[in-house]
Symmetry: C2
Subunit: 87 residues, 2 copies
């Protein structure tokens, strides 16, 4: 793994992990009205397509990072739908 | 451009465009309390690193898609900081 690979890995970790504070915030406050379900819906759909792309290209870094992102964003979408009803 | 490239491009367009409904929602409502600044901060930082990665690899699709994402997410971060003060 060279220097450029490490930069790519670091970028991927940041983007993948970025949704976690939002998940924690929604989990704590149970409030979601200001958050766009459409944004997280399109994002999750796009990430799912990235996983398909990774599988078709047999590109394991793409499959793995996007699978983790997909899992996290599916939690987010679930929260948005679940807490929207609660409010 | 083959079929797999088109799938990758489609995934990239979805992920890049996904933040737009959230920007529009914040623009309309001026309310941001429930949205995590940390999430959009880390995301924007990660996308900036992707642009650096693209430049180092001379990979133009990565540079272009992530530059558009960076621009959109900088608007989002600006809104989050600006409207947080207003509330």
């Amino acid at each position: 793994m060279n220097f450029i690979d490490i930069i790519g890995l670091f970028a991927g970790i940041c983007v993948t992990a970025s949704v976690i504070p939002q998940i924690v915030k929604v989990w704590r406050t149970k409030k979601v009205k200001q958050i766009s379900l459409l944004t997280f819906g399109i994002l999750t759909f796009g990430i799912a397509i990235w996983v398909v792309y990774g599988i078709l290209k047999k590109d394991f870094p793409i499959i793995i990072t996007n699978s983790i992102s997909l899992f996290l964003n599916l939690i987010m979408v679930y929260f948005l739908i679940y807490y929207e009803k609660e409010e």
